[in-house]
């Protein structure tokens, strides 16, 4: 009898403790959570609803299904925005990633003035984007700007018009984006390099490994978690590019630097807003899924290499999936529908992506065995 009452009393006590802890935990989290839930979580959830409605500045929204997406697929401005987002993101990811890694490796050595160089590399990242745009726009100025004067000096007879020319505006933005952000990723890589035990390098040196071999067999595998993290963040940051473009070129000249985020802004909050919140939300959802796809893709690659532990076995299915993905994007942005239409392409894309995931998984399992 006594044991029974003991146990129920104990249960009572743990329940009371749990209740107390829950109240206590929430009391700590609540002040931050109220703002976070209202302005971040609710908007993200709301986005999924808005994208399927004709929500606008006035009137009550009604459900329109995938109408918004069909309209986007037909809209040549949006297709251009898709193409230009990739045109910015891919060179920017590669350039920034490679330069940041290179800088991190250089600055991870014992050199005189290393602190100065680290600070110099990081400084652009924390300066105002408006000031940066003002300075670079005048540096890039076609007739009197120092950059073109320098190019003239080196014998380039016809230097590019940079932000005033539709061919060169995007490269100019990419240069400034890389200049601004590589210091940030360099810091992340530096932190990753610190986690690699020094003994490994010393052992390799004793065994007579060259610098390149040490990079390939110690640095690169040791950095894998960091590289994964950097590429995820870098990809998200690149695909959502907006403020740099807004301050540097304002989407122009023409639509040459018009990106998805810019499209969203123009349709709703910009000076020429049409107030089509639902329509722009559909574009937002596409942007969201592009970023999500990038994250998932890198997650798969990361797990794959982790499982395989032999980096030379590059998974073929992944490459095939990437090619499908690229074709889909190109087809979508250049109106070559191949008779599939918008809906067909979406289904094809989903199948490709699913296939890619499952095949990569199977491939990984085979390698383990």
């Amino acid at each position: 009898m006594t044991t029974h009452t003991d146990r129920s009393a104990q249960r009572h006590r743990t329940n009371a403790l749990r209740r107390r802890n829950t109240a206590l935990g929430w009391s700590f989290i609540a002040p931050n959570f109220v703002g976070f839930a209202l302005l971040t979580m609710v908007p993200i959830i709301l986005l999924f609803y808005m994208a399927f409605t004709d929500w606008n500045a006035l009137g009550t929204p009604s459900w329109v299904g995938i109408d918004n997406f069909e309209r986007l697929a037909r809209n040549s401005d949006f297709r251009a925005a898709m193409a230009q987002t990739f045109y910015y993101a891919i060179p920017h990811i590669i350039l920034t990633g490679v330069l940041a890694l290179g800088l991190a490796i250089l600055l991870n050595q014992k050199l005189r003035g290393v602190a100065f160089f680290r600070a110099a590399a990081f400084f652009p990242y924390i300066t105002s984007i408006v000031a940066i745009a003002i300075v670079w726009n005048l540096l890039f100025s076609p007739n009197y700007g120092p950059i073109n004067q320098l190019l003239n000096f080196f014998g380039v007879a016809d230097p590019p018009g940079w932000t005033t020319s539709s061919d060169w505006a995007m490269p100019a933005v990419i240069i400034v984006g890389t200049w601004r952000e590589m210091g940030y990723y360099m810091i992340l890589f530096l932190a990753g390099l610190q986690t690699i035990p020094r003994e490994l390098y010393e052992a390799a040196k004793v065994d007579g490994a060259s610098g390149w071999q040490r990079f390939l067999h110690i640095t690169w595998p040791g950095l894998r978690p960091t590289t994964f993290f950097v590429t995820v963040i870098l990809a998200i940051e690149s695909f959502k590019v907006f403020d740099l473009i807004q301050v540097m070129t304002d989407g122009g000249p023409g639509t040459s630097t018009y990106t998805i985020a810019y499209f969203i802004f123009q349709k709703t909050l910009g000076p020429y807003s049409t107030g089509e919140f639902g329509y722009a939300s559909a574009a937002s959802l596409i942007l969201f899924f592009i970023c999500l796809a990038m994250t998932v893709l890198q997650f798969v690659v990361n797990q794959q290499t982790e499982l395989a532990s032999k980096p030379k076995w590059w998974p073929l299915p992944l490459v095939a999936g990437l090619i499908c993905f690229a074709i889909a994007i190109v087809a979508f942005s250049t109106r070559m529908s191949f008779g599939l239409g918008w809906f067909g392409w979406t289904i094809a894309f989903v199948i490709c992506f699913g296939l890619m995931l499952t095949m990569t998984k199977m491939w990984a399992r085979r390698i383990i065995k």
């Binding site: 703002g35 993200i44 050595q109």
Partner: protein, 304 residues
């Protein structure tokens, strides 16, 4: 999505140190050449990184017509300090600066306070649903702000915060996931025994947070405060969307409108003066607290 937690976080608690990959006593000619090569490379890099700033400062001291001279004049003919006086009358520099300072200070204060408070709940109190809630915090990092700025704008309009003083920007920036994440990482490195013994001595959980955790988290709080301050100072998109009234313009929006103003088109040098003034406070903070910036970023690896 939940995997964007920086893997190097724990290692980054210590300041970044150098790994000596070469030994000092081995100085073969090949090594010396390599060393010189590395320095040349670094100097070229540093030039690429810093020349725009040099040009900004030098142009801010030029006459308007001198900004675009052929050939480029890197050092002004005569130092035109008058620009730094004129900017206050030619543009609303005073208003912009006041707004920016108020906004940055308020946001930093709130972010540090609510962020570290919530972080204690996540790091030290065990209750059902805690981990899922934290996952929700982390997951939002993978969602680009540009994707949900529209629903956010609509909500902000619905709760009637738009157009009221700097409020929309305060609530937008002060409750981010960033502070929670950074502080949780740090709190978890503080030994549990410390708070345990304080608890035995009869200190409440709030007391433990205030008397033990906060005083022990100096570096992390400094990182959070500096990063938040600089991010709010530099923010352009938020004020562009929410602060439409000229009286509430921040420095960044003010500078941008000044640039677009046809009246100012002949005032190229002043534009640079304004840019220098907007970068200067950040530069000073960075020089003073460089360690905290780098540690904060290496720990959390997040952008605002």
């Amino acid at each position: 999505m939940s995997t964007t937690i920086n893997p190097t976080a724990s290692a980054a608690q210590q300041p970044i140190r150098s790994i000596p990959t070469t030994r000092r006593h081995e100085s073969t000619p090949a090594r010396t050449v390599g060393r010189i090569g590395v320095y040349v490379l670094l100097i070229v890099f540093a030039a690429f990184l810093l020349v725009p700033f040099f040009w900004m400062i030098s142009s801010s001291l030029k006459e308007n017509l001198e900004v675009f001279s052929i050939p480029v004049r890197w050092i002004p003919q005569a130092f035109h300090w008058q620009n730094y006086v004129d900017i206050w009358t030619q543009a609303n520099m005073g208003t912009w600066l006041t707004n920016t300072v108020i906004l940055s200070v308020v946001v930093t204060f709130l972010q540090v306070l609510t962020g570290s408070f919530a972080a204690y709940g996540f790091a030290r109190v065990r209750f059902p649903g805690r981990d899922i809630l934290f996952l929700a915090y982390v997951a939002t990092i993978a969602v680009p702000w540009q994707a949900y700025m529209i629903p956010q704008f609509i909500l902000m309009t619905k709760i009637q915060l738009t157009g009221k003083w700097l409020w929309p920007m305060v609530v937008l920036q002060a409750f981010g996931a960033f502070g929670v994440f950074l502080m949780k990482q740090y709190f978890e490195t503080i030994p549990e025994e410390l708070s345990e013994s304080a608890r035995l001595d009869g200190l409440s959980e709030y007391g433990i947070w205030w008397r033990i955790m906060v005083p022990l988290s100096g570096p992390a709080l400094a990182s959070l405060a500096l990063l938040t301050f600089v991010r709010t100072w530099n923010d352009y998109m938020g004020p562009l969307i929410y602060l439409r009234d000229q009286a509430y313009y921040t420095l960044q929006i003010g500078l941008k409108t000044f640039q677009a103003d046809p009246k100012a088109s002949s005032l190229d040098a002043l534009l640079f003066t304004g840019s220098v003034l907007s970068v200067l406070p950040v530069a000073i903070i960075f020089v003073l607290g460089q360690r905290f910036f780098i540690e904060g970023i290496a720990t959390s690896g997040m952008k605002g």
